[in-house]
């Protein structure tokens, strides 16, 4: 039987969400229409918006449904940039190089086409933001910063960011903060309102925007949300019918929104118990791997580091480097054994690239190429972990033989 250990790529749709989607998809009506068909679609949509809003600690009006995490991030970064830098006075975008490509490539595009200046913040070697460095960057560019964007949790190495200090820094500096919470959603408590209060943020500064995606929590692929504080103005990416505060024109996908809300509701309700269950499975997986492969390295935060404020590592995340192996060889061999895992990021041709997150954390290219991400989720059982652990010694032996592509080859 095929074993799925790539829940950070996407996690299986929850049954409740699938049922909700199917039921809603059969209803007639455009949520923007005035007649009763339209009104009933609108009702389902707005109930979904309220549910999602509750899971993010914002008001319903602050939730914009979009096509997914990538669009949410693009809308937040470009929208804030265009709005803040309209007169060219605030071109600086602050981020770390360990961000998701949706962020990195958006910043790169803004730099190439819209005159943005990227200011990169150092990452600590566990993958978290070096807050002192962030403070230094904000001071160095005082008055010229369009926005700061950070990850709530790193999608590759699983490091959960401590958002309070960053929220305070950006609030004091008077710059808006976007939080990419795509990987954190459903595993870590997210509350944009509480974060704003604790940082003393009022108006369009400090934490103002937060991106999430439905399919990472058991909702459908193709929908996500940007929570955008009501005081904040941004420029839209899409123009048209003026839906969703005129910030995201286009007929809204009611069935997906309802399924998203259902997944969010169930996930958040079960979060505490699931986090504990998955975290203990993950612990047995990590221990098993380190026993079987003594020189394997667990990247990110160590497992013992969780504190009382919540996990400092995503509960389902195990991210390893296997010295002398190429990540894609391990992935291939596991796939042949019926086990799906990930090397992290792949470019569009399907070529595994050295993990840019590990490079940003200061690891060598060789270590970054030997990375393997194993992520557990709501369907994972001890049997899955056991099957993975049974396969790993042989897989690493073969992968080590195949080695790294840099070495000199000769057929023996």
């Amino acid at each position: 039987m095929a074993i799925y250990l790539d829940h950070s790529a996407t996690t299986p749709m929850r049954e409740e969400a699938a049922e909700a989607w199917l039921a809603t998809s059969r209803a007639i009506g455009n949520s923007s229409s005035i007649h009763s068909h339209g009104q009933s679609a609108r009702q389902a949509l707005e109930e979904a918006r309220e549910t999602v809003a509750r899971t993010l600690g914002v008001d319903a009006i602050e939730v914009l449904f979009v096509s997914g995490g990538t669009e949410a991030i693009n809308l937040a970064i470009k929208g804030l940039y265009w709005s803040r830098n309209a007169d060219g006075g605030r071109p600086v975008v602050v981020a770390s190089r360990g961000e998701h490509h949706a962020t990195l490539d958006t910043i790169e595009w803004l730099a190439e086409h819209e005159g943005a200046e990227a200011a990169w913040v150092r990452l600590s070697d566990d993958g978290s933001i070096d807050v002192d460095d962030l403070a230094r960057v904000l001071r160095a560019h005082a008055g010229r910063v369009a926005l700061v964007t950070v990850l709530a949790a790193n999608n590759e190495v699983g490091t959960v960011e401590s958002l309070e200090p960053i929220a305070r820094l950006t609030t004091v500096a008077g710059v808006p903060l976007h939080i990419d919470a795509v990987a954190a959603y459903g595993h870590v408590r997210l509350d944009l309102g509480a974060l704003r209060s604790s940082a003393g943020a009022t108006g369009a500064m400090g934490p103002v925007a937060l991106s999430v995606s439905a399919h990472k929590i058991g909702g459908p692929q193709g929908i996500g949300a940007l929570a955008l504080d009501r005081s904040t103005t941004i420029e839209p990416l899409l123009h048209g019918g003026g839906q969703q505060r005129r910030l995201r024109s286009g007929t809204q996908d009611v069935a997906s929104a309802v399924a998203f809300a259902r997944a969010a509701e169930v996930t958040v309700k079960e979060m505490a118990g699931e986090d504990a269950r998955i975290s203990s499975l993950r612990e047995s997986l990590v221990r098993g791997v380190l026993d079987a492969v003594p020189d394997a390295v667990l990247n990110g935060v160590s497992l013992s580091a969780d504190d009382e404020h919540g996990p400092v590592r995503l509960p389902g995340n195990a991210h390893f480097s296997f010295p002398g192996c190429q990540g894609d060889s391990i992935l291939f061999l596991l796939d042949m054994a019926g086990i799906s895992v990930s090397t992290g990021s792949a470019c569009q041709a399907g070529v595994p690239e050295p993990s840019h997150v590990l490079l940003a954390m200061g690891r060598s290219e060789e270590v970054a190429r030997s990375a393997l991400r194993v992520t557990l989720g709501h369907t994972t059982t001890q049997d899955d972990v056991d099957a993975f652990l049974a396969a790993i010694p042989g897989v690493i032996r073969s992968a080590r033989k195949a080695g790294l592509s840099e070495r000199d080859v000769a057929v023996r």
Binding site: D328, S329, F332, L333, D335, M336, Q348, A349, G350, V351, P352, S398, A399, K401, A402, G403, S405, E406, V409, A410, V411, R412
Partner: protein
């Protein structure tokens, strides 16, 4: 699986023959183009998607393996270096030698595979003793045994060429169509895959640099100038733009390229005739000859699409080792150092060497 019709049909045939097959697409560039253009039938995202669709249809797993760094080092950089040194390399052979049947094969064997199966048109004969012979394809018009001439016995033992017995490419296309493969009518690729627009001279000029130099006749008289010696290959006639006609009024051809002095030597067609070629870098495609010291009869082929020429050959000792020497029955035209000579016994590929020494058939020192 390049995304072309040949490798797709080869994969399908390997599946039919009962093998456990996995489709592998080689990523040879870190920055692949998005869409296929012109006659360059590989290496874009579109090609990798074509390969994946073919693998889906055949029902085999599919992966992209990254050999871009090795490809750059062993094929692209080598291509530039060879041209810079005034030689004319064949990058497809180099890719077979260093990537497809070396880096890829080694990785595959380490990961538990038995062989690399490709869509090349060539045949393998496996004797009962386990020795493998490489032969020309049944369809001589499509025969690609020349570019496989660099493979050693060990590499051939781990190779499969399911298209080698096919009577013609048309049969392969018809079979692809019958199997429902969308690449059935995809055009053949025939340019160098890493030169996107097919403009080899322009591409080389960017890397080697274009500097004006002299065109000389064999007496050393300057008869014209050029924009960079690397753009010329031995035997070339077009593009010389010689203002002064030859005394005899006959067309002139490139006889020699001298990269060190950035000079190109031209002369009449007769002067291109080569009576002997030799090279110290040689390999056997399978079993070596028993008595290498003696002359033996063979055929020699010096380009992928040249006709084979009957010849005599032997392995001769040199001051610092030995070299493969071939004396063709009639003089060869357009031989450039750096080219590969593949030596055949009938349809069988015996081995190959890189030409590093030639002897002119017409020892003329001064143009008539």
């Amino acid at each position: 699986m390049s995304g072309g019709v040949d490798s797709a049909v080869a994969a399908a045939r390997a599946v039919d023959a009962g093998h456990e097959v996995v489709g592998v697409h080689l990523a040879l560039s870190r920055m692949p183009g998005t869409l296929r253009t012109g006659s360059r039938g590989c290496c874009t995202i579109e090609d990798s998607m074509d390969a994946q669709r073919a693998a889906n249809l055949i029902g085999i797993p599919y992966y992209v393996w990254d050999f871009s760094e090795r490809f750059k080092l062993d094929v692209v950089d080598d291509f530039v270096a060879e041209y810079s040194a005034g030689r004319t390399p064949n990058p497809c052979m180099r890719c077979n030698e260093k990537i497809k049947f070396a880096a890829l094969l080694e990785k595959a064997v380490d990961l538990g595979f038995d062989a690399v199966c490709t869509g090349h048109y060539a045949r393998l004969d496996r004797s009962a003793s386990g020795a493998v012979e490489l032969h020309r394809a049944s369809d001589e018009a499509k025969d690609q045994s020349y570019v496989l001439g660099v493979l050693t016995a060990e590499q051939l033992a781990h190779s499969m060429f399911p298209l080698g017995e096919t009577p013609s490419k048309a049969v392969v296309r018809a079979e692809a169509a019958a199997r429902g493969l969308s690449v059935a009518s995809k055009p053949d690729s025939h340019d160098i895959c890493f030169i996107p627009d097919g403009d080899t001279r322009g591409w080389l000029a960017e890397r080697v640099g274009a500097e004006t130099g002299s065109i000389l006749d064999r007496a050393g008289n300057v008869v014209g100038d050029h924009d960079g010696a690397h753009a010329f290959t031995v035997g070339q006639r077009r593009g010389l733009r010689l203002g002064v006609p030859a005394d005899d009024g006959k067309p002139r051809f490139v006889l020699e390229v001298r990269p060190k002095t950035n000079e190109v030597v031209v002369g009449p067609k007769e002067a291109l005739a080569i009576a002997e070629i030799a090279g110290a870098r040689f390999s056997w495609a399978g079993e070596p000859l028993d008595e290498p010291g003696d002359w033996f009869d063979c055929d020699v082929q010096i380009r992928a699409h040249a006709d084979p020429v009957p010849a005599r050959a032997r392995i001769a000792p040199t001051s610092d080792g030995e070299e493969f020497v071939v004396v063709p029955a009639r003089p060869l035209d357009g031989v450039a150092p750096g080219q590969t000579a593949v030596v055949y016994l009938g349809t069988r590929v015996l081995g190959q060497f890189t030409i590093d020494r030639t002897v002119s058939a017409v020892p003329v020192t001064v143009d008539a």
